[in-house]
Amino acid sequence: MTLEDIQTILNAAVLARRADLGVSIDRAYCADLMSDVLAFSVTNSLLITGLTNAQVIRTAEIADIRAIVFVQSKRPDMETIALAEGRKIPLLATQLSMFDTCGKLYANGLRSQSVDPA
């Protein structure tokens, strides 16, 4: 699945100016607690979150997250968007709840494939 497919499924807005929507996404992880992402997500996942602060971008960078979807009409501020652009992490925003966002993507074939990092 490409990020563009995900954008269509979620009817999402693209928040970065130069986002590459052709990037391939085959795993997803949803969380609002960043240690959860660091402990259990796998590399190159899509991160689905209701948090919009700068630490989400840092966490994504550290955990090798490929793109982020902000749920429930939440939008990060300009500084956070700029931070993500600098790190080439595309940002999407959807009006859907986290539950429906995950559900729709799951129904379209996306999975988590969580692995124990230890």
Binding site: L33, S35, L38, A54, T59, I62
Partner: protein, 145 residues
């Protein structure tokens, strides 16, 4: 892998959430540039980031020293913070003393120290209540023989 010994220090300001993670993110880049395998970079970055966030959340200030040799990366994070009264309790997954606003920022889930321990080869914590905490960890940079 290339490069000789490399060392330095980052200064961390308590409650500076705007720059939180900046030190770990440049250390990550440093290791990547040296050609360290991606899984080791990831383990190191996660540990460094959790340690850096701890200092930002709990301490007034901190110093994060690092040294990278051909075989190993080592970090010592010394903070001026409240100290940890019971380290084994703090190592318990899910235990946290973070205030509500920290939890609403996505931290304080009681996973920080366990996450560090899980990702590094060696970790030591020494803490004096009222003075601060020193956390040291290291990771071998090449797969163990």
């Amino acid at each position: 892998m290339t490069g000789g010994a490399d060392e330095g220090v980052y200064f961390i300001t308590g409650k500076d959430f705007t720059n939180a993670g900046a030190a770990s993110s440049s250390l990550k880049k440093l290791l990547e540039d040296r050609g360290v395998p991606a899984d080791i970079v990831r383990r190191f970055s996660i540990a460094a980031f959790e340690a850096e966030m701890n200092a930002i959340i709990y301490a007034v200030a901190g110093m994060m020293r690092y040294s990278i040799t051909r075989d190993m990366v080592k970090v010592t994070l010394q903070d001026m913070g409240p100290g940890i009264p019971d380290i084994s309790l703090a190592m318990t997954e899910g235990y946290s003393t973070a205030p509500d606003y920290i939890r609403e920022m996505g931290f304080g889930s009681g996973m920080g120290l366990p996450n560090i321990k899980k990702n590094v080869d060696h970790m030591t914590i020494t803490s004096v209540v009222g003075e601060g905490t020193t956390l040291e960890f290291d990771i071998a940079l090449s797969p163990s023989p």
